[in-house]
């Protein structure tokens, strides 16, 4: 019994080594989503600006930890041509609106209730952050959030703003 089990475990591990992440390159796929104000927001509106697309959910602990850092980043660089679009991946927006009422953020929050944009961007981790340059190409991708990532975000945003 134990032998059979060990075989399954080895198989799973071998398979996991084979499964690799796809690199994110090229132009950022366009999309239009409903924002929390009720307006529809498109990525295309921000061509010429540096855009950070952050995929998050209220049930994801690292996503919630990252929020205050994203807010600080937005406040600092927004007037210099930086836009932050927080794409919420949950199927229902009610719980998200309630959470935002308790933890306000000033950047746009978009609802991807049908997971179309999440699939388009091949999101493989929660949270995921994609930084798009002024020419509309994806330059940096971050999987997950750990303390210190906000410093990397700052460096990358400043580099792209200087282009």
């Amino acid at each position: 019994m134990l032998r059979a089990f060990s075989i399954i475990v080895v198989g799973a591990l071998v398979a996991s080594l084979a499964w690799a992440a796809d690199a994110v390159k090229g132009p950022a796929p366009g999309f239009t989503l409903q924002s929390r104000d009720g307006n529809r927001v498109s990525l295309a509106e921000f061509k010429g600006q540096v855009v950070m697309i952050n995929f998050w959910a209220t049930w994801c602990v690292p996503c919630r930890q990252e929020m205050p850092h994203l807010e600080a980043l937005y406040q600092r660089y927004n007037k210099l041509g930086f836009k932050l679009l927080a794409v919420n991946v949950e199927n229902k927006s009610d719980g998200v609106k309630k959470w935002l009422a308790e933890t306000p953020v000033s950047f746009p929050v978009l609802f991807d209730t049908k997971s179309e944009v999440t699939k388009l961007y091949k999101v493989e981790t929660m949270p995921s952050t994609v930084i798009v340059a002024k020419d509309g190409t994806m330059r940096y991708v971050h999987h997950g959030y750990q303390a210190g990532y906000e410093n990397d975000y700052q460096t990358e945003v400043r580099t792209l703003l200087r282009e």
């Binding site: 399954i8 799973a12 398979a15 499964w19 959910a57 602990v61 690292p62 929660m126």
Partner: protein, 81 residues
Amino acid sequence: MANIRIRRAVTSAALAVLVCCVVGGCSIEPWVKPYERDHMADKIMSLDPNPVSSAYIDHVHDAREGARGATGGAGGGCGCN
């Protein structure tokens, strides 16, 4: 005994999984996406929400029953990071 049949079935299944993994080149895509983990991340789906309580009740069982072992469990959750 039923036990032997179950063990044989599990061994065959295990070999089938391994063969599929090695031969198939194994590009199995995770069928539950990381953004579909809202139910798994819910505290009611946690396998061990109160370790101090589960450790105690496991001790109550172990102290009075002949059986022991295989009570732990990890997994599920939000799968973040």
